[in-house]
Symmetry: C2
Subunit: 530 residues, 2 copies
């Protein structure tokens, strides 16, 4: 059956785009989480028509397809399917930027368009528009991250919220267009997301109901003026009041970017590698050692970053409000404009003396994070997976999956109150400790009312024992947090069954929708479904 | 069959809540559009359990149910079902405000909660939170408007965008909870709308897939400072450049409310009745007469309204930017704070002299529209349906459907460019003229990239000939605008077939979802479906 299907795929999209040899398939197995899936073949369609042909053949031969955009879903399974014996549909060749509308500030893109590619296009063509990059780096797919409901931290950070108009190849080979896109001559497809009638786009995110082949995404006009805002607290117990202040700033729309509250440990994973020497080869990281390294690097217990976008007078007004609101809650508060960053770079020594800061060290993280807030994708977060690995991240084109680094993402949603944050920390801290890891917490404000708490489990994947403990740590975190009501916003391929397994009307409905749209069950079996 | 079903309904929810007499059913027939539907009965459930019982009985006896929240869908069919011989499920008794969370700024409400009720609650309990009212007035349902994807004009105007967590009674009687609500102890149900897995909420808006019995809605904190912004142009041809300026202000987030650009004719319908005398009994309204009345009332050709919310310094900064941007594009630009409005009221004569304005006349519209921007529902728009009727709107509790006023809403979406707006006007103007009506255009910025153009067809419903013409006018508007690609964001019950009738994968998918969720087809047959 599979062999016949492969012959049919080869005829449909060409032999060179139907991969079956071990050497060709190898890179699709790369993963930062401890999984290994049998992949039967990889297909590389170049067009919607190719994708339509592929699903028709899959239906005929009862083949399970697993579409990926670029396959860099690091920490959640990368390109690996949820179940074994799938044929991967790699959409990376479909990487056209179909349209960029400067006047109405949107783009229409295909799945293969990477963050780097979109950034370069917007920049080179002087469109005056900026994208919102997610932290996963330049090589990742914009569409892939969006349909997985990933996020960035600029004001357009909630990626799916900024989609208007989708094109989806259904399991039966038909092409669905949403918003007004299914009406001839429709004018407002990419400017009004709801369209008319049931709003369907949502069911094609975090699901296996169709293959999304195009999306319209809204882009933000480059602001006249920009300033990043950095602040930090000295004590871990300062978090509570800080949360109250940040929530006020967001609910009152003073800050329109997300705010990241980053724990000391997490900053260290971005600045350096695990301090084996200081720890005499032991793990997890001791609090005292963490604090002492943080001191030398001028890192606070909690470190905040946000940004202001607007005209000069608007940014000035917002800064005043932020200063007033954070006064007393933070030990340090700095605003960094583009110009200030340039000066800081040029006169590192001088500023180092004046501010008592390690400026070169600071710039290593500051510059790329400034860039991300300004719409420029960066690899700054990609060094973390090398934290415990006995290898060094390359200077560029970092691919932690290829390098077999250990990273499992756990990313529950926590309401933005001090009580919730504190309860949440009290649940996860002992679990990390029990399994020999240090919690590296970031609280990211994904709405003005909720944090996504991204918790990487960073481990040495070349060490079988540590890998086992990492997995056990993840399992316990998931089960305890689900029990306490802190549910992850996104799941890795290893735990879909835990998500959907219980008696639950929600997942019953998902099953009924799946049967209606993909009765043969050919698309991504088990992905956010039973 | 129906008689047996009614007996079962009576047993389930009580005889007094099962209405069948003509007198009891009369008010459900009231409508501002020319339709008349046979209504078999009306059920008034009081709880989710009641609703579950009702759908079970409906399945047993193959009864078509038509749920309404308060039934004030004026201009789109009011409480009338799309097809005849439905049993209306009137959810107005389910009017509990389940929760108001001040810290996280949200409320959880049932379908019967009216705009007035929510406003009063927030106000009386000094919650420091404000709602976004839609223009349809105090008696309308917040939930009903939201699942119909209605909007208001404050920064939280896109009502469905601000929903987090739904409860839906399915056609099989099961209760679906979205966001994280289907997990026990879930903490973030009303603070993170996407939940995990396919985002389902959208398919329960503008659809007939389930009965929404609860929603979480986000509320805006009362701003420290507020100023409404009013501007106007003298010439109709000023619209193009004005659109460019407004789009810039919105895309750059200077104005976070919607902006309404209201044509002179539309303002006149809110200020007064049709000038039969000046027009010597003729219709449609002559341009010269319209202009001359507008002159005496100091109404411009295009009249803009928006608002600023923030701290004093932020509002001041935004005002500066608005002044700079609108300079040269508008003839008049005024900012009105709460304090200014109070002063204006107190010293009407003085200001009239100073500003050369008819202040009392102005206040009649200014005060309620100021209120709407501040989160207070108002009846200011409800007088328009009396424009051509030979009767006077009551001083309060206006119900244009009950008074048999003629209003058909036509509300297509137009991308926010001058070319689109001008093309759109060139299409609709001759159609209105041909049928003997004056176009009363409002362009509302429903996103920073698109207008919803709400066009009321105001007619005398007591005049059979005018009613016929109104209907023909609507039909031609709909067909011509659909052809040109300007699709309405929302449809009246009279034209669902035109929406879904053609060969269209989108409506095929909707049909498959409907079959999956409501195989008996008991819920709102024909509503946004075939």
């Amino acid at each position: 059956m599979l062999q016949e299907a492969i012959k049919a795929f080869e005829e449909a999209i060409g032999r060179e785009y139907t991969l079956t040899s071990d050497a060709q398939l190898e890179r699709y197995h790369y993963s930062t989480i401890p999984v290994l899936r049998v992949i039967d073949a990889v297909l590389l369609p170049n067009s919607v028509r190719d994708v339509q042909e592929i699903v028709k053949i899959a239906n005929d031969f009862k083949i399970s397809l697993y579409p990926i955009s670029t396959g860099n879903n690091w920490g959640y399974g990368s390109a690996n399917p949820v179940r074994g014996h799938n044929v991967i549909v790699d959409l990376s060749r479909m990487n056209r930027i179909i349209e960029v509308n400067r006047e109405l500030a949107y783009a229409v893109i295909e799945p293969g368009v990477t963050q780097h590619q979109l950034y370069e296009y917007l920049h080179k063509h002087r469109t005056g528009l900026m994208m919102d990059p997610t932290g996963s780096g330049p090589s990742c797919s914009v569409l892939g991250n969006t349909v997985e409901r990933g996020y960035g931290i600029s004001p357009y950070g909630d990626h799916f919220a900024y989609v208007s108009g989708m094109e989806v190849v259904l399991a039966n080979g038909e092409v669905l267009r949403t918003s007004f896109g299914h009406y001839e001559n429709a004018k407002a497809t990419h400017t009004f997301k709801w369209g008319v009638g049931p709003y369907l786009d949502g069911i094609f995110t975090q699901s296996n109901f169709g293959i999304v082949t195009k999306i319209g995404i809204w882009l933000m006009p480059e602001p006249e003026h920009f300033e990043a805002c950095y602040f930090s607290c000295d004590n871990e117990s300062d978090l509570g009041p800080l949360i109250d202040a940040v929530r006020w700033l967001l609910l009152n729309n003073v800050i329109r970017s997300s705010v990241n509250l980053v724990h000391r440990n997490r900053v260290l994973t971005m600045l350096s590698r695990y301090p084996w020497k200081e720890m005499s080869g032991k793990a997890p990281l001791d609090d005292e050692v963490s604090k002492s390294i943080a001191r030398t690097k001028k890192v606070g217990a909690w470190n905040g970053v946000g940004a202001l976008y607007g005209t000069k007078e608007e940014v000035r007004a917002a800064k005043k409000v932020i200063r007033r609101t954070l006064r007393g809650e933070v030990a340090r508060l700095n605003f960094v404009s583009d110009k200030a960053l340039l000066l800081l770079e040029r006169f590192q020594g001088l500023f180092g003396l004046l501010l008592g800061m390690n400026i070169p060290e600071m710039l290593r993280v500051l510059k790329p994070s400034h860039g991300i807030l300004r719409g420029k994708p960066s690899e700054v977060s990609l060094a973390s997976p090398y934290w415990r690995a006995k290898k060094t991240p390359p200077a560029k084109d970092i691919n932690p999956a290829k390098d077999n680094c250990g990273l499992i993402w756990f990313s529950p949603v926590v309401p933005m109150t001090r009580e919730n944050a504190e309860e949440f920390i009290s649940i996860i801290q002992p679990i990390f400790a029990r399994h020999g890891f240090e919690p590296c917490i970031t609280f990211t404000t994904v709405t003005p009312r909720a944090f996504d708490c991204t918790l990487p489990i960073l481990y040495d994947k070349d060490d079988p024992d540590e890998t086992k403990r990492a997995n056990a740590c993840y399992e316990e975190l998931l089960s305890e947090c689900m029990k306490a009501g802190y549910i992850p916003y996104r799941f890795g391929i290893q735990s879909m069954a835990e998500l959907t397994g219980r008696k639950d009307v929600f997942w019953d409905v998902v099953e009924r929708l799946k049967d209606a749209l993909d009765p043969g069950g050919i698309l991504s079996p088990g992905r956010y479904s039973r």
